[in-house]
Amino acid sequence: MTLDDYLQIGVTVTLGSHTFDPEAIKAFARKYDPQPFHVDEEAARNSVLGGLCASGWHTASAWMKCNLSARAPEGRWDGPGAEPQFGPSPGFRNLKWLKPVYAGETVTYTRTALGHRPLASRPGWRLLTLKAEGFDSTGDKVIEFDCAVLVKAQ
């Protein structure tokens, strides 16, 4: 197994789904994003969005949840040296909230690993770049972004 195989470079992986219950939408938004259209059905109906919908940060955070759930289980590595280890992320770019995620909607998330390169500033670590996407129950894309994560690998 090569590192490319392990990291599934070039493969779009379906990570799983997350259903946005109205109570969970409101609970997240009360803590982090209490705009009327995320915390109150009535206010949401009268807003530009037309109904209660998830905070964009909630939609993005649920990608991370599904992403972790779909990481390779420990022990899958059979290449040379130690098993690659995931570290933190330096950030993301080009995040687009393409369509509101209304209460009750289920979003199915994917990731596509694009490539990796050694990090000059951290010997032994590489930077893996990924495309993240999420699709609603009608197949419309609701979110996408480009992100990166550090991977400890030879």
Partner: protein
Amino acid sequence: MTGKRWAYEDFEEGASLDLGSKRVSAEEIVEFASEFDFQPMHLDEEAGRNSILGGLSASGWHTCAMFMRMLCDAFLLESTCQGAPGVDQVKWARPVLAGDTLTGRCTVLGKRLSRSRPQLGFVSLRAELFNQRGERVFELENTAMFLTRAGAGA
């Protein structure tokens, strides 16, 4: 919509808006991570210390969510904001650790009226969060939509 303190006209290019301050507790780091980003360095003090983050550290998505709440409390809830189509970029520049106190500012990079909807404008913002040592831990750039005073009164 009328009576909001912040409409499109109130954002001046180059202006810097204070985002207040926020203390980050270990409990909320673990609470967020348990749901969305259950990696050891976000769940456990010792695992955090042994990671390259150097301590129990907030998920980057949690930092985004905490930033959003600071933005809401600083001015967004008292504005004519109509949401944002996305985020151009986020940098998780340094770890946000349990016990840190974050402060922030938001700088207006530019603004323009919509060609198709003259009562709507686009405001480009750069937000930064700093820890108690003045180190920048988070940076975000995006464009949000705000109604003009006339649009909000209509």
